[in-house]
């Protein structure tokens, strides 16, 4: 071993040689090597790790990393219309302020005494989501919306004791891939076709496919492709008629104006909370939620933590803790309630801050505004020669599909040209949904002004003519 240069690392207080010696003495060991006595020679690494030279000074490190980041062009530096499960909404400054509070940022798994704040903030997140959803039970966040959906379906499987989940064919293939892999040991997934003109689920097909082995009928509202499933209530009835559960995936930012699923028959609701005050983070800002009614048969199926409120021995004091921590499965053959692990707690707290800032009026305004902007964009797009808007007569929320087939250009070509003009065009659906041909998914949010939309439309007009 070549002798190391003696560095006292700022992150390693006891790398100070004098301290190290004192501590060694206290343990009775001559060198640190003795602590590794249990590790056989045969698996000891006999050389130094071959890693890049470090930047020991913070200034050099910052320079290096900023140099790498400089090679990125963020959505703020372009005009972005990308969506598909991750959206560019405005993140209030107070949201960032709170989730950079070191106490929240660096806490983990303490008790509800010294971590009372963590429990309270997550309980409040659950509670505010509950008001959006009109449901009494909401979990501490899981990794992302895909996970939430997979778990919601498995919950439905355990509760009904059945094996089949019916999913809409308009679901994101990535989401489908995750769900298939996740539910595989206990459930099968079947897709129900959608009407190519409206995007809505083909109810005739649903009625044929559903049977007494169906655990759940799942829809997304709004769909991955942006439209609202107007037949939702009817789909729920069909599901219930056959004893299946109705599982609905939603975009929580729509719930200021769109009815929460419980109002049209939803039993388990799931989705992603990224749109609630969390930066896109290149896909690292996702967090999933699951909500149900407050009935034992549902609550006992949650794999995630559920924080509840209680009294303490001091009058007027709130205490918090885990509800039904010893949850076991009622159906003995099911292999336990999946797992509980580190997931997305800080994003839950952030979403709570967001909802508290927005309040009822803010959520109504942003919901209505999204629908107005999307409709405007759809109208303008539809007016471009050779460009069509898919499912144009179905109501949409914030995303919609644009059909470029008649332009003779591929979405890839169009997006390249748009990029040259400083625009991130809608995501390419041609691989995900071959039946839609050269189509793209556009997302409009409150960060877009009318001028932005007009600019997009003009650019597309130029590019496709």
């Amino acid at each position: 071993m070549t002798p190391k240069k003696t560095v006292v690392y700022p992150y390693i207080p006891n790398s100070n040689p004098a301290v190290k010696a004192e501590m060694l003495k206290a343990t009775g060991a001559k060198s640190v090597d003795e602590f590794y006595a249990e590790i056989p020679e045969s698996i000891r690494l006999k050389r130094k790790l071959n890693l890049p030279e470090p930047f020991l000074s913070e200034a050099a490190l910052v320079r290096h990393v900023e140099g790498l980041l400089a090679k990125n062009q963020s959505a703020r530096e372009a005009l972005s219309f990308l969506g598909g499960g991750c959206a560019q909404h405005h993140v209030p400054a107070v949201c960032d302020e709170i989730n950079s509070r070191s106490e929240f940022l660096t806490a983990y798994a303490g008790e509800p005494y010294e971590d009372h704040g963590r429990f309270q903030s997550l309980f409040e997140y659950e509670s505010m989501m509950a008001e959006l959803l009109n449901m009494d039970v909401v979990n501490v966040p899981v990794y992302d919306g895909y996970q939430a959906t997979g778990t919601a379906l498995r919950m439905a499987g355990r509760i009904t004791g059945r094996r089949i989940a019916l999913l809409p064919a308009s679901i994101s293939p990535d989401n489908l891939s995750k769900i298939r892999d996740y539910v595989r040991p206990d459930m099968q997934v079947e897709l129900v076709a959608f009407d190519p003109a409206t995007g809505l689920m083909d109810l005739k097909a649903l009625r044929v496919q559903i049977n007494d082995q169906t655990a759940a009928v799942f829809i997304e509202n709004p769909s991955y492709l942006g439209f609202l499933e107007t037949q939702a209530a009817e789909i729920g009835s069909i599901a219930h008629e056959k004893g299946a559960l109705f599982v609905v995936g939603v975009d929580p930012i729509s719930l200021g104006v769109i009815n929460p699923p419980i109002e049209y028959g939803g039993d388990i609701v799931c989705g992603d909370i990224q749109s609630l005050g969390i930066h896109m983070n290149y896909g690292g800002g996702q967090a999933g939620f699951i909500a149900t009614r407050d009935e034992e048969k549902f609550v006992m199926q949650f794999p995630s933590r559920l924080f509840g409120i209680a009294t303490t021995c001091v009058e007027g004091e709130y205490g918090f803790g885990d509800v039904a921590y010893e949850r076991t499965s009622f159906a003995v053959r099911e292999e336990g309630n999946e797992w509980v692990g580190t997931a997305a707690g800080l994003w839950g707290i952030t979403a709570g801050v967001y909802l508290a800032l927005m309040g009822p009026q803010g959520m109504q305004e942003i919901g209505r505004g999204s629908m107005q902007r999307a409709r405007y964009a759809m109208q303008k797009m539809a007016a471009i020669p050779k460009v069509r808007v898919q499912f144009v007569d179905t109501p949409h929320f914030k995303e919609f599909v644009v059909d470029f087939n008649k332009t003779g250009k591929t979405v890839a070509e169009i997006n390249k040209a748009l990029h040259a003009r400083g625009i991130f065009g809608g995501s390419d659906l041609s691989v995900e949904f071959p039946a839609l041909g050269q189509s793209a998914l556009y997302c409009i949010t409150e960060v877009h002004t009318q001028a932005d939309i007009d600019g997009l439309v003009f650019a597309i007009h130029e590019v496709v003519k």
């Binding site: 000891r44 960032d96 704040g117």
Partner: protein, 535 residues
């Protein structure tokens, strides 16, 4: 006119030095008696105003809900709290003060969690809009920076683990463990042996997520208990292995801090039976540059970036996990992988044998960035120092803790532990009636805490301490002083422990309602309905 010169007579005061602080902090946690946020609501208040669409736009579109069926129209606005901005901020600031993050305490009590320092510079870098404002579907040419970070960090983890490829897609540790068993399942399926190989072997001191992930993936789980000396029992393994074995999923060192000296043999036994080996390296903090997954023969391994690699724990996430795999397992990696073709970075979606996606997009990018920056600030020598000091700290702490009356270290007596130790307070409990978790609550009165153990409590009255490299000798000494003090109290004044905590944010919580379906309340609206009866 004579001027009067006043002379003020100063009284001489002996300056008084502040007395030396006592050995035990006179700590009290912030306690704001803060209501639940709904109680702070004042009708009509606004916290933020979203941008309104322009008047011309609004006119052009009419009522956007005109095509919505009644069933989809929300009737009443959601009953969220109505607060002005400063009140939202103040509320959350207060309750943040009522949370004991790593940055505030000697957080060596959360064993297996590796509560090390998360450097602020890395958090700051990740908050740059050039990280936070990237959309995952942006043109690849516009995200070369973050893709480069991902490729470079993969290289780093390849070197640290000895593995041939690494995926950074998992959202956290358990998700990575699941990805590993999912890949193993795909491997056996490709060889037509998935039906036959339906069993996974693990140990009782491995992290419970190994058993859980295996179950979720559809396997029968066989759990091994330690042998008489406290090591994973190799004879039990031999008895458990068969043609039905799909995999061994094992944490090493285990959550007790014991390193299995026969780990290579364990791997060999399973390989001979045709199974694969998955290495849970959540406890890698003591092993960086010392020993590698590949050298022990493992086929897949995983790391927790929020443990060993310093990304902050965030009250339970967001985190990030990484899976290292051998060349043979690479085809099964989740899609996409991040590649470099010599000129630029790109995402490879063309992976026919992949297990598909474990999460949306490519990974928790800001955390990958933080972990990368952390390694780049340390280098090979620095990582080696991290591990050696983590292990030194642990063994130093061990020697001090064992001097405390009533505590013991079960298993492998006289042998060294790696980076953490699971202790037992059994003797103290038998002699005083004070339980381990009560000691943990009393610790909150001195500004810290600890965690007992994962389920199940095989070690009675457990306490699992993991000092990491981030704490100084003084920190460790202070922690021991606290434990020693509480242990003494157990023998002389147990009542104060039974009724603890006294100086924390709240007092003894009434637990009973949490298990009673009639009484539990997961949300404020449930609480108002069931407990307050909507008064």
């Amino acid at each position: 006119m004579t001027s009067i010169v006043r002379t003020t007579i100063k009284k001489h005061v002996e300056p008084k030095a502040v007395a030396k602080k006592p050995a035990l902090r006179r700590f009290h946690q912030a306690s704001w008696d803060e209501p639940v946020i709904f109680e702070l609501s004042v009708p009509g208040q606004r916290g933020i105003l979203p941008p309104e669409p322009e008047a011309a736009l609004v006119q052009a579109v009419g009522d956007p809900a005109d095509k919505l069926p009644d069933s989809l129209k929300r009737k009443a606005a959601p009953a969220l709290p109505e607060m002005s901005q400063i009140h939202v901020l103040r509320h959350y600031m207060r309750i943040s003060q009522e949370t004991l993050g790593v940055d505030l305490n000697i957080d060596i009590g959360q064993g297996t969690c590796t509560m090390k320092y998360s450097p602020k510079v890395n958090d700051q870098l990740a908050r740059s809009p050039k990280m936070s404002e990237l959309h995952p579907l942006q043109p690849v040419s516009s995200v070369q920076g973050i893709l480069e970070v991902m490729v470079k960090f993969e290289e780093i983890l390849k070197e640290i683990s000895g593995m041939d490829r690494v995926t950074l897609q998992p959202g956290a540790g358990s998700s990575a463990i699941y990805a590993n068993i999912s890949m193993i399942r795909a491997y056996h399926t490709a060889r037509g042996e998935n039906e036959q190989r339906n069993e996974v072997i693990t140990t009782i001191f491995s992290h419970p997520s190994n058993a859980a992930a295996a179950k979720v993936a559809g396997y029968k789980v066989i759990t091994l208990y330690p042998d008489a000396d406290g090591y994973p029992d190799i004879e039990a393994l031999k008895a458990a292995v068969s043609k039905h074995t799909a995999a061994l999923m094992i944490t090493n060192p285990e959550d007790t801090g014991v390193f299995n000296p026969r780990i290579e043999e364990f791997v060999r036994i399973v390989h001979v039976a045709g199974g694969l080996c998955s290495y849970d390296q959540a406890n890698a903090n003591g092993l960086l540059g010392i020993t590698r997954a590949r050298d022990a023969g493992f086929d897949v391994c995983h790391f927790n970036l929020h443990k060993t690699f310093s990304t902050p724990h965030g009250c339970g996430g967001p985190a990030a996990g990484a899976c290292g795999v051998t060349k043979e397992m690479s085809p099964f990696l989740p899609t996409p992988t991040v590649e470099f073709d010599g000129a630029s970075y790109y995402l490879d979606f063309n992976r026919p044998q992949s297990i598909g996606k474990i999460r949306p997009w490519y990974g928790v990018a800001p955390n990958i960035l933080k972990a990368y920056a952390w390694v780049m600030s340390l280098g090979a020598d620095g990582l080696r120092e991290i591990s050696e000091i983590a292990v030194l700290n642990n063994n130093y702490l061990l020697s001090k803790v064992l001097e405390i009356r009533g505590v013991s270290m079960p298993y492998t007596k006289g042998k060294r532990r790696i980076e953490q130790v699971r202790y037992s307070w059994e003797q103290l409990t038998n002699e005083t009636g004070v339980h381990s978790e009560e000691i943990g609550f009393r610790a909150a009165d001195f500004g810290t805490h600890y965690w007992t153990s994962h389920h199940p409590f095989v070690v009675p009255e457990p306490m699992t301490l993991e000092p990491t490299e981030s704490y100084s000798k003084e920190d460790l000494d202070e922690y021991v002083t606290i434990l020693k003090h509480i242990a003494e109290e157990a023998y002389t004044n147990p009542e104060i422990i039974h009724t603890a905590p006294h100086n924390s944010t709240v007092h003894k919580i009434d637990q009973e309602s949490f298990d009673d379906p009639e009484a539990w309340a997961v949300t404020w609206r449930a609480y108002r309905r069931k407990v307050l009866k909507n008064t």
